[in-house]
Amino acid sequence: MNLNLFVWRQKGPAEPGKLEEIKATDVTPDMSFLEMLDEVNERLVHESKDPIAFDHDCREGICGTCSQVINGVPHGPREKTTTCQLHMRNFKDGDSIYIEPWRAKAFPIVKDLIVDRSALDRIIQAGGYISAHTGGTPDVNATLIPKPYADLAMDAAECIGCGACVAACPNGSAMLFTAAKVSQFAYLPQGKPEAARRVCLMTEAMVQEGFGNCSNHYECEAACPKGIKVSFIAKLNRELMKARFKK
């Protein structure tokens, strides 16, 4: 396959950026999207041009590092699929593909398709942990957790922190991310003692980092490679409300 790529090129955070047309030739359907870019980069290096800078790490859909908006959709056209797990068989010969970085006020561009997502780390640092010593492995059924809550905590914990929810949101909101990280603890007994403090600190950090608020567009759920549900945002709001009344 031969493709016309339109790739966001930006030398640095303060430099102006623009879409640049780059040809991708001899692409096979079995290549992953990142392998296709690897091959394009090899050609650019041979032509003494600057290769496209992009983030990647595990390339098996679990690390959350790859971050590309493909044809306007974070992680591209396939549902519940990270960019690295997207294969070129989802495209046709002659297609034009627009590749852009995550765009959000809280994610400054480092170079080309790479953005600085440390704002998400700082939300976690604000309270996304349990400080109590949880002790050794407890006896089975010593702490009873209803199955629906255990399932919800697991669903929330699926979040890989990639930031696609932020990139998809018209408000640049990190509510889905924060909701997942708050909920994975809030449903479990170990997370209860610090629940109020945690939700207050994490939402505060979220606002301070410059993320917007949720106004129910549901774009985040549609873009999330792990299918995190917006109902967790309702859980986040509920937890925050409870915490406020406690104060």
């Binding site: 030398k11 640095g12 690897d38 090899e42 650019l44 290096v45 041979h46 003494s48 041009k49 600057d50 290769p51 800078a53 480092v110 170079k111 790479i114 492995t137």
Partner: protein, 229 residues
């Protein structure tokens, strides 16, 4: 490294896959994962707390001689890599090295294959340092420069891997020397000569590394041969 998982560098703890002390060579996926779980759950939460309780953060500066030396080395290496401007990309060298390792230093390796690898690797390394093309500059994020640095390391490490495999004239774990096998095709260990853990000391590019040995002593449970049949 001691029972607290602390290495002989004070404050440097070694866990999981990098911790080889409990059962010899760790194998990816099996014992290495278990080791990660065991170290992470049962050892380090207790021992690192003990260490942290004894130390206080000090203010450190960039004036230390070791820091200046490291910075100089990195700058020199960066300048060298960017200045070669050859014809082959770091990824092409990586692939070629991968092919050499796949063909000659795989899980089943022989005296002849390892000697062949030790001929090919230095040739490829020489070519790398004369013919690699690293585009871009050292003034901003440069992923090609990062890749070239890694491939440069891989070239040295590949040679060491082959050297070690050639030195160990027995079959053991993930190291299967085809010359050393039992009639049924099982690995034939040589506990009389190789019952030790070894660490190689780097002596410089192309120089023979120095072997440091620490004998494995089994007081209660003695070495035996496991049969999967």
């Amino acid at each position: 490294m001691d029972y607290n998982l602390e290495s002989n560098v004070r404050g440097l703890f070694v866990l999981g896959e990098a911790n080889f002390s409990d059962h010899g060579a760790n194998r990816l996926g099996a014992s290495a994962l278990m080791q990660g779980l065991a170290d992470g759950y049962f050892v380090i939460p207790y021992t690192i707390g003990n260490y942290l309780a004894q130390v206080k953060p000090e203010s450190i500066t960039a004036d230390h001689g070791a820091f200046a030396e490291a910075r100089e080395n990195v700058n020199a290496m960066t300048k060298k890599l960017l200045g070669i401007n050859g014809r082959k990309t770091p990824r092409e060298f990586h692939r070629e090295l991968g092919t050499i390792m796949w063909e000659h230093v795989g899980m089943a390796r022989s005296d002849a294959s390892l000697k062949r690898a030790l001929e090919l690797i230095p040739v490829l390394r020489d070519e790398f340092w004369q013919n690699v093309r690293v585009v871009g500059t050292d003034a901003d994020l440069n992923q090609e420069l990062e890749r070239a640095g890694r491939v440069a390391d891989f070239l040295d490490f590949a040679e060491l891997l082959a050297t070690d495999a050639l030195h160990r004239k027995e079959s053991c774990g993930g190291h299967f020397r085809v010359e050393y096998q039992l009639p049924g095709g099982e690995a034939r260990r040589d506990d009389d000569n190789y019952s030790y853990v070894g660490a190689w000391g780097y002596q410089g590019v192309g120089k023979v590394p120095t072997l440091y040995k620490e004998p494995l002593v089994f007081e209660n449970i003695h070495l035996g041969i496991r049969s999967y049949k």
